[in-house]
């Protein structure tokens, strides 16, 4: 028996190690409800511990090499390679002058855009809290397109945070360690991001292929998708905010497995093959600079002022309408021909009310159930002495408004302008088209 183990010890050791690793693999995969086998997206404690150890061993030398590379690069660029610096400086100065002018113009456009955006109540999150990080290493395998950042949970990074550059999206944080983080790049085969095509508005899922190119998979064949079309994030994946550039369509190829589907190969906007500095979106809430917040507040205030004015006008109109409840026939037609009234609305006194369109439909006088001398239309039948008598109270002398005198939103201003002598402040005054002398002959409703 001993001779057996001694004789085949090499094979036995090999088998033991292989079986142990196969068991370890079996623990890491799982079968989904749909019957597919997939890797557990979140590593178990044991697996995470192994990754943490490997990371702890490899990261310090990587960080050192990255720093020395930067140091050597800076030494070369800042001290040794200074040829043509003077010419470059002059060119850059000219560029700066030109950019300053452009910046001034663009700043004004940006402010206007923010105001319009606020007025339209778009709550899109274009400004975020980000954290700059350096890419210090990769997985070393072309089958696993991940890289490592020099910042981790101690600096506030968390899983599933979006990683971007000013050019476009890069990937998402897959695993976080104390001082490093693993980023899954968008061209990895296991990645996924919701994207939308700019002009055709077709949505799809972005993932990588074997060649390391990001592609939108599972799209129905569509002739409208052409190379050169821009692709942005769709914002539905809870990782990438909406509207970030992804890249442009490079080509459209047929899905090898499904005939009616195509894969859209994307040329990424960010240089994902050679990344140095990236930004991690650590907060998705808007955190605008003070100047932008001030502009936004100003536009909000303007919007609020306009809304308050309109509300006041509507309220005044409603109050005046309530004061004349009997003059409006509920079943009356909405509009009355202007000619029937004998006067043109808005012509009298030469004042055209700006708020005239807001005036309700022309009211008709209702028949009085118990007519008296104050009833509309009975003024001419009243005895002459009565007509000259001073009113007993301020309500008695109230000249009824004509049929076209329903108060509009600007009623209080008009009242001051057209209030005849003898009318009391606070009473409904004769309106445009019906001066005080004409109110004695109101038109009855037929």
């Amino acid at each position: 028996m001993d001779s057996f183990f001694i004789r085949y010890r090499n094979l036995l050791v090999l088998l033991v190690i292989l079986v142990a690793q196969i068991i370890g693999l079996a623990v890491q995969v799982r079968r989904t409800d749909a019957g597919h086998v997939s890797l557990d997206p979140q590593d178990g404690p044991g697996v995470r511990l192994i990754r943490l150890w490997a990371n702890a061993v490899v990261t310090p030398p990587e960080r050192m090499m990255h720093s020395s590379k930067l140091g050597l690069g800076n030494l070369w660029q800042n001290y040794l390679d200074l040829r043509h610096v003077s010419e470059q400086n002059q060119d850059l100065q000219k560029t700066v002058d030109r950019l300053r002018l452009e910046q001034a113009e663009m700043l004004e456009d940006a402010r206007q855009g923010q105001r319009l955006q606020a007025l339209l109540d778009f709550q899109q999150k274009y400004v975020y809290k980000t954290l700059a990080a350096q890419a210090i290493g990769s997985s070393g395998s072309d089958q696993s397109r991940v890289f490592y950042l020099d910042k981790g949970s101690a600096e506030g990074l968390q899983r599933d945070m979006a990683v971007i550059t000013p050019d476009g999206i890069v990937g998402k944080v897959r695993e976080v360690f104390p001082h490093t983080a693993q980023v899954l790049v968008i061209n990895d085969q296991t990645s996924g991001a919701g994207v939308i095509l700019e002009t055709t508005r077709i949505r799809g899922i972005l993932r990588g292929n074997a060649a390391g190119q990001p592609q939108i998979v599972g799209l129905m064949a569509d002739q409208r998708i052409q190379p050169g079309e821009k692709v942005f994030t769709a914002g539905g994946d809870q990782i990438f905010p909406r509207g970030l550039p992804v890249g442009v369509v490079e080509k459209v190829v047929r899905d090898p497995e499904r005939d009616s589907f195509v894969d859209v190969i994307i040329k990424p906007a960010a240089h994902i093959d050679r990344l140095d500095e990236v930004l991690v979106i650590t907060q998705a809430l808007p955190t605008m600079p003070p100047q932008q917040q001030q502009d936004l507040a100003t536009s909000e205030a303007l919007k609020g002022g306009e809304a308050a004015t309109i509300k006041d006008q509507k309220k005044a109109s409603e109050i005046m309408a309530e004061r004349l409840p009997g003059l409006t026939e509920p079943n009356a037609p909405a509009a009355q021909p202007a000619a029937a009234a004998g006067t043109q609305p808005g012509q009298a006194q030469g004042q055209a009310a700006p708020a005239a369109p807001a005036t309700p439909a022309t009211p008709k006088l209702l028949h009085a159930q118990h007519a008296d001398r104050f009833s509309p239309g009975s003024a001419q039948e009243a005895p002459p002495e009565t007509r000259t008598t001073e009113p007993k109270s301020r309500f008695d002398a109230k000249p009824l408004p004509g049929p076209r005198e329903l108060p509009g939103p600007r009623m209080p201003q008009k009242r001051e302008q057209t209030a005849p002598a003898g009318t009391t402040k606070g009473q409904p005054a004769p309106k445009a088209g019906h001066p005080a002398g004409q109110t004695a002959t109101p038109r009855r409703n037929p």
């Binding site: 010890r9 090499n10 050791v13 090999l14 190690i17 292989l18 690793q21 196969i22 370890g24 693999l25 890491q28 995969v29 086998v37 997939s38 890797l39 697996v47 192994i50 990754r51 150890w53 490997a54 990371n55 061993v57 490899v58 030398p61 990587e62 090499m65 990255h66 890419a135 210090i136 290493g137 990769s138 997985s139 070393g140 395998s141 072309d142 089958q143 696993s144 991940v146 890289f147 490592y148 897959r174 695993e175 693993q182 899954l184 990895d188 085969q189 296991t190 292929n209 074997a210 060649a211 390391g212 093959d273 050679r274 990344l275």
Partner: protein, 173 residues
């Protein structure tokens, strides 16, 4: 003396290295493998941990040591990736075992043999990787054969340059 030993040729050609070489060379290979693709981009057609595994397996001529070395390097690579831990581990375990087993029977000083061995073992490692991923685990993995071919060529060229340099680090009587 050579005549009386059970395996005199093998006894003579087992190489020994300082402990630091065993510790640092694999570590440097792992670090460079993780760092260089960032510099070279998509043209990083090499697998330094595999080359180092083959070198030590051939030099030590011990299948057990080759197995352990390959297993450790592969697991390390897996741990740095986002894939399951063990895929590279199994592939490089087998490669280390085979390299050591072959090293007992052939002259590992010959450059042509080193070149061919590295080329074949690189292809074998890629094939085992794909087999485990697609057949054993049943996971989706797109695979391009010419990338593996380029990688095998790259490994062979690197081995051609690196092996003589590492030979200088061995302990000589």
């Amino acid at each position: 003396m050579e005549v009386f030993g059970p395996n005199p040729r093998r006894e003579l050609e087992i190489r020994r290295y300082p402990f630091l070489v065993y510790a640092l060379v694999p570590l440097v290979a792992l670090v460079l493998q993780a760092w260089l693709p960032r510099v070279l981009g998509r043209y990083a057609w090499f697998d330094l941990p595999l080359v180092i595994t083959v070198y030590f397996a051939l030099g030590r001529r011990s299948p057990i040591q080759g197995t352990l070395m390959g297993s450790a390097m592969g697991l390390f690579e897996d741990a740095l990736s986002n894939h399951a831990i063990g895929v590279n581990g199994i592939a490089k375990t087998i490669v280390g075992f085979l390299a050591a087993s072959v090293g007992v029977r052939i002259d590992v000083e010959n450059h042509t043999i080193r070149l061919i061995l590295n080329f074949l073992l690189s292809l074998l490692s890629g094939a085992i990787y794909v087999f485990i991923y697609r057949i054993l685990l049943g996971l989706d993995l797109e695979w391009r054969w010419f990338t593996e071919l380029f990688k095998a060529v790259g490994n062979s060229i690197i081995a051609l340059v690196l092996f003589p340099l590492l030979d200088r680090l061995q302990i000589r009587d």
